[in-house]
Symmetry: D2
Subunit: 329 residues, 4 copies
């Protein structure tokens, strides 16, 4: 098996100048009412949830989240963990007293802090994470995210009931027989189709669709760049109409979803999947998943569908949340 | 309906001097091997997960997590949200440029920080949250939690695959026909039994057992103390043998689980459910749940069992995690 | 004594449209070489320092800094203090052991965090705090402040040797016989002149010039807005040429220096003293001083000059620092 | 010049078992009244301040503070700098508008956080930093420092007017003709005496006395341990009576003041200079100074005395403060 598939995909690609038009043609603004903040999560009906639960027939959970480690630097700084109470200190412990009432007992308490919207923490983006031309999803003004109040519209709290739906993994690295797709590799709709065909799995409305590029495999190479690589494989921008047509409810990837460079930069869309997805479509994004064990499990069970749960913290005013997404087989 | 049931429960209670003996008699040390860090979560088998998923037949999710709000003070300080990128600032937005490439687009990025082990944030405690007489669950030394490394044993990462199992709600406030149980009220095993009988629900091995005291109802009263009340209703310490006998995998409550005062303080066990549960039994705890909507849903559907998911963040070295637990009916 | 002088100052004011021209006419760019980051602090020579030290003849220190208190909300959130080690916890202290070697000894250690550029923390602004039209002081690009690296030019570390110079207080509130100037009050050059004359003090090159508006007095009123008032008295924008002509090295105020509203907002200069001062002049600013005890001391000693020390932390990449400025009489 | 003087000092040392007695014999409890929180800072009179200012005759400032850098790990984690506003982001800047009112202008605002009581940040310890046998300086209970309120006695705010006094540097590394004293080297009173004699400088009541061990020189060696070395040179514990007799007001060092190991560990005094100094004497400590430029300046001017200013932030409830101490020659 070759190690890496280089960044330039073979197909002819559409003109990135067209991305601008997608802000209108792929838009879901108004589709679920003028006050909607849920966007594509509206596509997950109670029937989807019940059906998804039926996929958990083996009772086998797999995490798609990376550990959050204070030792890992990231774009906006490393996560923090500060022990506030307990934590064995430098002072020697006094000897135990004579009775149980004097046995020392401790609570250990920590402060956790993180700027999760980087390249190492598995996290969910709500539509408030991006704005374009002064507006967020469903026409909310960009100014609805303020440095003091945080997001007063389209915040992650809109998904406070969690996301539970059918998950589908498309393992495009495996499709190409490589360990990982190269930095900047843009997966095309044709590859998605081919991958689904080979895996014998259909993508349906309301699904959470996960794309494996092998970035997690690459991140585990000794002396490698880890997850901090400025160039990333990911969804090519021309997947956007494909995702919109299929009414996918949530997308996830082992990179930041957008390929970097995306090809849209010269046209004002550095991160077109983020911008068109979040702003026009109201499509929620799951960045920096760890899909290695998931892919191995799918391969072993010959099953690329599962119950998928993403339960964001109800962070008031936040534009996303760190999460630990779980696939149940 | 009367509003509150006062703190003194009617029954005769066992002598708290006996708590000390429970550190041995209720112990699960060694039960799942000398290296075990999962404790009672070992009781959740794949069969439990599959069966739990079968309870999600209505496709209806209910959150048991409170919002995490920077405006809410707590024992160790209020949660923090700092907007790092974006966030409409005081400067007026420049006018849009002539072409799409120059339309302003923004990413909104925040830093989130919280000391979640207080009274307002819904969170999971791992066994590393407490030690007694120099040891944590399964005999790990108390010194395995250090101010620099955090917990190197029994950390929340042991539950990295998440907790998915059958959930059962025992609504003891409703049993007594009150809005909430009074501060310091200790629920007894007899009340648990009576409640389960009235709700026609059995408690089984591997369950997540949630106790509703009505604290969430009380917290919502205008001019009330919110969730910050030094005196709390909760499980009486004599529920510990009852929970151990039934092999409950996880307990949760709308308070901090322990009643405060617990009655064990004079014997060196200020928080006996925490100390005996975490240290001796390896019982994971879910503190500060919001059980109001859950109770209403259970009452409406006449069903007090559901699929229950708690997906802690994989926080390296942490003794717990903020969570958004979801019940699926 | 009347309490407050209303916001509209009596004099005719120059046209704010002229502020734009001051970006050039008041500029110090290139004056101290192409690489200079010190700006007006260059005006403090060793002679100034020696002469300033001569003013400390009474050996009497007065602080001009407000306490930094976790209980005080501010524009970017309240300051944080998290106790990491020590801090008496809820657990009872074990009894002392039999020998000195077992007497408990504790270190108390805290984490301190603050976003000091608000309205409550006394702080110094370095020129990197602001940019205009893509540039900072001395033509450094605005992009020299990055969210990852912080300021790589004009950072507060340029003043790493501290600021020690002659300080002069102009007590304009006292000049008008009021406790405080009203919100939005813009002090004019004529008032500065008149104030200096009445106080019999000259403003000289290299001075730190402090303006008292009485905001500290107002902040101490019970049931008042504290320091958090969106409208502020301060230097009128027409003081800028006056300050430039006199080669003042540092200005400070008990407000944020700029009057708010400043009168320049419609012309793109919401905070003209900040923008013209920091960007064009390289003038360092001291915001949110507490000048009440200083004014009382000056009044008592009939002396409005003193040795003045501002010793910013050497915060790498920061655009300012919280400080505790000290006047020595 | 040899590089390092090994850790074992030649002299015979007193028995560390005597340290315990110093908690009483060196005590300043009650000396300045029952409510005193200033401790040895009481020794700095207005005469001392005036005399100290007279030492600033060359107008030359030298900083004794290390930069605070987010890239430097420390005992309790690295300092944090989070850019909240401004900070050139990934989005391209829109082109300038047609009029000055539309020129983009930015404020750059950061959050700074640090647990300064480690080995890299120059900081001042107030007496609340330590307790022994249940008490802090002047008999205040150890419980006066709480995890929620911080220090309610002996906090750093007691020194809110700053510390301005005569500073004296004793360059013991230079005395021995080495670049640095070895890890664990304990400077003795005899060496202090000899050093003062050679430098022709007297130590007087009310002085800030700085000890140079060369740790700053060592920290700058490429591939060296930086400031993070578990073994440190510093004041031997037998300097404590010497410091008490001379009524030194403040001590500082380029290490953490205590030699590590101190020799007192087996007797319950791991850090005797901290414990006896802070708790019994009320002696304020300045840890982790950078004394390299100071020593060079002293050597050049043949003058080891100067005006010395330490202006701690008025951090409510804190047991110390990061500082940038400045020597004025």
């Amino acid at each position: 098996m070759s190690t890496e598939r280089p960044g330039a995909p073979p197909e002819q690609r559409p003109d990135p100048a067209g991305i601008h038009g997608w802000m209108t043609s792929l838009s879901n603004w108004g589709r679920w009412g003028p006050d909607d903040e849920l966007g594509t999560l509206n596509l997950i009906t109670s029937q989807h949830i019940t059906a998804a639960a039926g996929l958990a027939r083996a009772g086998l959970p797999v995490s798609c989240g990376w550990p959050v480690d204070p030792g890992t630097p990231d774009v906006y700084g490393a996560p923090q963990r500060l022990m506030l109470l307990g934590g064995a200190g430098p002072a020697p412990e006094p000897p135990p007293g004579p009775s149980p009432a004097h046995r020392p007992h401790h609570s250990n308490v920590e402060y956790i802090g993180l700027a999760f919207h980087g390249m190492t923490v598995t996290h969910l983006d709500s539509p408030a994470h991006a704005s374009w031309d002064g507006a967020m999803y469903n026409g909310r003004p960009a100014s609805a995210v303020r440095f003091d109040t945080g997001a007063v519209a389209c915040a992650v709290t809109a998904a406070g009931r969690g996301i539970s739906t059918r998950g589908v993994l498309l393992d495009v690295a495996a499709l190409h027989g490589v360990d990982w797709l190269g930095p900047g590799y843009r997966v095309s709709p044709a590859e998605l189709e081919e991958c689904a065909r080979r895996q014998n799995v259909a993508v349906r409305a309301g699904d959470a669709l996960l794309l494996r590029t092998g970035t997690g495999h690459r991140a585990r190479q000794p002396d490698g760049p880890g997850l901090r690589d400025d160039h990333k494989p990911g969804w090519g921008f021309d997947c956007l109409p494909w995702l919109r047509t299929r009414d996918v409810a949530l997308i996830g990837c082992d990179s930041i979803n957008d390929a970097v460079p995306s090809g849209g930069g010269g046209h004002g869309f550095d991160l077109p999947v983020h911008l068109v997805g979040l702003v026009a479509m109201g499509l929620w994004l799951l960045d920096n998943c760890d899909l290695e064990e998931l892919a191995a499990t799918c391969g072993e069970l010959r099953r690329w569908e599962f119950m998928f749960s993403v339960l964001p913290l109800r962070l008031a005013g936040a534009t996303g949340s760190p999460v630990n997404p779980i696939a149940l087989f």
